[in-house]
């Protein structure tokens, strides 16, 4: 007897129906290969935790690269938004964590900035970032964020945060305090910036 193809889910699910741990990943058009590298960990987490974990892919566009990078994953996607709406979009999704995929290549290590860490921290969302600069310069593991040293370790960190959302929430609060103090508008930040103009 012919095998039935899986039923295609056509309707949009609303956020109000979900009671799960929400992990975000930002796709900026240039990092699909980085996302593809962590895909096995995402798929494994989904298999292990089912609806208790939900992935949000921000900046999604239909393309060959995105299809390859996300093959086998069920997730929510959000199309690119302008920087004007970005934080509001993040806030709306009420994320519990933000994964930063980043292959350990020279380009990434020398090009990455702290935008995602700052924006997530501002909203109390802890990041799960690779243990390499610039993240290892500002994140203290399990204090104001999470650091992973390998893909296996990433898998374990995802398991940890999904099963201990209270820990994650507390780390999110620490992240907010940290980014506000170190990078917020203040006389100290102004003085630091002023002196950068040599």
């Amino acid at each position: 007897m012919a095998e039935k193809a899986p039923r295609k889910i056509a309707r949009k699910k609303t956020l109000q129906n979900i009671d799960s741990f929400k992990l975000g990943i930002v796709a900026n058009g240039y990092n699909w290969a980085d996302i593809a590298e962590i895909l096995p960990q995402l798929v494994a987490a989904k298999a292990a935790h089912g609806n208790k974990v939900i992935f949000y892919i921000f900046g999604y566009v239909d393309s060959e690269e995105s299809a390859v990078a996300l093959e086998g994953l069920e997730c929510y996607v959000v199309k690119p938004v302008s920087i004007i709406h970005w934080l509001k979009c993040l806030e709306q999704c009420k994320l519990n964590g933000m994964i930063i995929p980043m292959r350990k290549i020279l380009f990434n290590a020398t090009s990455e900035n702290l935008n995602k860490f700052l924006e997530s921290g501002l909203l109390g969302v802890p990041v799960i970032a690779p243990q390499m600069p610039p993240y290892s310069d500002v994140i203290v593991d399990q204090n104001n964020g999470f650091l992973y040293s390998s893909l296996d370790h990433l898998g374990k960190v995802i398991d940890l945060v999904v099963t201990d959302p209270v820990l994650c929430a507390n780390i999110g609060l620490n992240a907010t305090a940290y980014v506000t103090k170190e990078f917020g508008h203040s006389e100290a930040t102004q003085k630091f910036y002023y002196e950068a103009f040599i």
Partner: protein, 262 residues
């Protein structure tokens, strides 16, 4: 980000633009040239614009020539520099620092004009990413040809101060510059390289003007469905092979029966 949008709107007015640089009131006057309203533009230009210019401290003042919408490829290869005429002369004369966003368009002639008008001003160049090490799977690798790499190198080489994303890039660039000098590709290098300080402001960044236009998340499955078996096609293939079998056997001199059909 209502304040940011208000700034974008205000910068469309010539009066506002000129008022920014009418008086010399601070020790460091910083002019931001044509940034884009993007994540990079926000942290490189817009947030520092507010921090250094509008916190009520008198040691620094800021001005901006324009604030355009996101078009990153355009910024990289077709940079629309809004620095012309009497207005530009006033801005340049006022500025102690003139900050250019990252581009692979040739800025060196503009640097020459700036230095002629105001020899004391320092030219600041932003480097957004390590354009020497773009991996092949990154779309930027098709944009950054050897020619563009060379132009971008000229742009930072001829500046006075370079901001990069992190301390590791400071190290990388320092070594790269030494290589280029040793190979005599370039003459001596005199600019400072700094990691860009980052600044955020919750009040500015979360104040939105139009909540309704935010993209809503959409559920999507990327699970590849198993191939659907076409029974009709299989039946027709079997039928065709059964028809062919007796014809072949007749050709070979044998009568086809159900028993000897294999």
């Amino acid at each position: 980000m209502k304040l940011v949008l208000d700034l974008e709107k205000a910068l469309k007015s010539e009066g506002f633009r000129l008022d920014q640089t009418e008086y010399l009131v601070a020790k460091k006057n910083i002019l931001y040239v044509s940034p884009q309203l993007s994540a990079r533009g926000l942290y490189q230009s817009v947030m520092p614009f507010f921090l250094l210019g509008y916190m009520g401290l008198r040691n620094s003042a800021t001005a901006m020539t324009s604030l355009s919408r996101y078009n990153y490829t355009g910024q990289l290869v077709e940079y629309d520099i809004n620095l012309v005429g009497d207005e530009a002369m006033q801005h340049i004369s006022w500025a102690d620092y003139i900050v250019f966003p990252f581009t692979a368009c040739d800025l060196v002639p503009l640097y020459g004009l700036v230095r002629k008008l105001n020899p004391k001003t320092k030219i600041v160049f932003m480097i957004d990413f390590n354009f020497y090490e773009i991996p092949a799977d990154n779309p930027l690798s098709t944009v950054f040809t050897k020619e563009l790499i060379s132009t971008a190198t000229n742009n930072y080489w001829q500046s006075d101060l370079i901001f990069v994303n992190n301390a590791l890039m400071v190290e990388y660039l320092t070594k790269k510059i030494k290589q280029l000098v040793d190979r005599r590709t370039y003459t001596e290098f005199n600019a400072w390289i700094q990691p860009l300080p980052f600044v955020i402001n919750r009040d500015i960044m979360t104040e939105n003007f139009d909540v309704d236009s935010i993209e809503q998340p959409e559920y999507k499955s990327f699970i590849v469905p198993s191939k659907k078996i076409d029974n009709k096609k299989i039946a027709s293939v079997i039928a065709a092979s059964e028809k062919e079998a007796p014809e072949k056997q007749e050709k070979n001199g044998r009568k086809s029966t159900a028993k000897n059909r294999t």
